[in-house]
């Protein structure tokens, strides 16, 4: 099996507040293979965006990475000094943000922003950088790129701006692109186009994608594997097709069942009772136990670790731990 491009192990991110320290991420572990698209799903507040921010090293103080390891091609990047980390950003890991309307500096033209980024990471002349920039814009689908490159951001519509953002994120040829809700702020009609662009251009360059979203439809279309986050912990990881059709974790099952499809037969959508716990009120044991209809004794006392099952699937649930399931008689 090939070595993972990105490897996250037991990542813990904490936020000190006056009422105690909150753990936004509580020992999150996963891998991303070169060239693959890993979807990261979960409700608002589950920790998806924080994971992306932690990987690229942009957690805002007072938040901080408290422990754990993040490795890019085997080398640790979570403990690098700021200057070394900066060299990685853009060059090896790129990031696409959610809101195209605020991601671009309104006082500089697109050309200036692209050329600046290119020349920061690649040693070339201004003319050379400009050529690359125009080619890139053309590739992401901006019509008349050579002319429009000298426009200011406010001359572009939302969808067009997001294409510019993608171009900016990829102009230094990174190996991994973290896309944090790249389509949430866009019109529905434009969303699928942008996802297409992102997927194509990354595939072309062999870049892996960490696609953070709460939209399962996007994941189903685009991702190879998916990781499900709940209350700062990983609930399940696996190939997209299998996780969707045959979820292992009760939370994932609830998540899939709550998505309406055209072919669905039932009258009502499945609803998971209750709500995801606040970070300062996470129950002991498995974080999902108050809402789980299959919870049994160990779920209330011991936190389930991520278990590797066959077919590249992982799940953090006592139901799938054959040892535990045998220990305690089912109720």
């Amino acid at each position: 099996m090939a070595d993972p491009l990105l490897s996250v192990r037991d990542l813990v991110v904490e936020f000190p507040t006056r009422r105690g320290t909150l753990r936004a991420l509580d020992r999150v572990s996963f891998d991303i293979m070169p060239g693959e698209v890993l979807g990261m799903v979960g409700e608002s507040g589950a920790g998806k965006s924080i994971t992306g921010a932690a990987i690229i090293g942009l957690i805002e103080p007072p938040g901080r990475v408290a422990s754990g390891e993040i490795r890019l091609k085997g080398e640790r990047i979570d403990n690098l000094r700021p200057e070394a980390l900066r060299k990685i950003r853009g060059k090896r890991i790129g990031m696409v943000f959610q809101d195209p309307l605020t991601s671009l500096n309104p006082l500089y033209t697109v050309a200036q922003q692209l050329i600046e980024t290119i020349r920061t990471h690649i040693d070339c002349s201004e003319a050379e950088a400009r050529k690359r920039a125009v080619a890139l814009l053309d590739r992401v689908g901006i019509p008349a790129a050579a002319r429009r490159i000298d426009d200011y951001p406010h001359h572009f519509s939302g969808g067009m701006r997001q294409r510019v953002v993608i171009a900016l994120a990829l102009c230094a040829e990174p190996e991994l692109v973290i896309a944090d809700e790249p389509t949430t702020a866009l019109d529905v009609s434009v969303q699928s186009q942008i996802i297409e662009v992102l997927k194509d251009i990354c595939a072309e360059r062999g870049a892996a994608v960490m696609l953070i979203t709460h939209d399962m439809g996007v994941i189903a279309e685009t991702a190879d594997r998916v990781a499900v986050l709940y209350a700062g912990r990983v609930a399940e990881i696996g190939p997209v097709r299998e996780v969707i059709t045959e979820a292992l974790h009760p939370y994932t099952r609830g998540l899939m069942g709550s998505i309406p499809t055209l072919t669905q037969e039932s009258d009502r959508l499945v609803q998971i009772p209750g709500a995801m716990p606040r970070l300062n009120a996470i129950p002991q044991g498995c974080a999902f136990n108050p809402r789980c209809d299959k919870a049994f004794a160990p779920c209330f006392t011991d936190r389930p670790e991520l278990l590797a099952l066959e077919g590249g699937r992982q799940v953090a649930c006592w139901l799938h731990d054959t040892a535990k399931a045998q220990e305690v008689p089912h109720g």
Binding site: L58, R86, G94, F97, N105, P106, E116, T117, F156
Partner: protein, 328 residues
Amino acid sequence: MIAFILRRLLQSVIVMIAVAAVSFSLFRFVGDPINSMVGQETSIADRQALRESLGLNDPIVLQFGRFLGNALQGEFGISYRLQMPVTELILQRLPATVELALVSGLLAFVLGLSLGVYTALRRRGVLSNIIMTASLIGVSLPTFLIGVLLIWVFAVELRWLPSNGRGEVVALGDWWSTGLLTHSGRLALILPAITLGLYQMTLIMRLVRAEMLEVLRTDYIKFARARGLSARAVNFGHALKNTLVPVITITGLQLGSIIAFAIITETVFNWPGVGALFINSVRFVDVPVMAAYLMMIALIFVVINLIVDLLYYAVDPRLRVDRAGKAH
């Protein structure tokens, strides 16, 4: 663009006319012009005659029109107190104020900008906290107190700098005089410039800091960092540039208020400028001078406002509706 300029010009004219109306009312109705001009012994009949000859019995609108006409020609009557033409008085003293205002404005801007950027970038540093605390003191210190304390330390105790006056001045051209060309003139400029500029500098510094902190929180700065741009590019190329847009415009507006604050500084240091002239005119209810000063200040403010608006337009591309027009 042309439409914008025309509209602003029109607004300025309207404001000036409104101020002229206030000035005129001052002139006409505060105190009695006749009584302020003549001595006690003048007979009633003579006063009436004077009133008639000065046109004070004509309809108000006519008087206002005359006032406006005179004002446009720079004619503001005679000072009650000094018995000299007001315009001449003001012109005589204007260079002193303008020089002081420009020097302190420059000082305030340069220092304020540098300190503001520093305290925004090194937000939690010890030096930053000291500077911020000192700035609060700066805002709480009234200008006159700064002046007085500076005089005490540097003029009375240390005797390094003069405590009043302008030093030697050199005439430039017809009516301008400058103190910058003589050693004593330059020395005399130091304390007043610091006094006048300190408050402005504090304001600018706090403004720059606040704006920069706001800008540093934006998405485009986060994205710039995420693209691996150097700290210098992010902080100065992106953050500072965006901070400067509102800062320059607000600072420009401050320049107008410096001229007004000069009133205080000039009083403390016996600086022979228009501010001191105005204070004396308030003390003695010398209405022509008050009215003229008001018009002059209004003109300065209006002109500065206009320039600042144009500057904003030139600097922020979002305000320009040019070839691309709509977003597409």
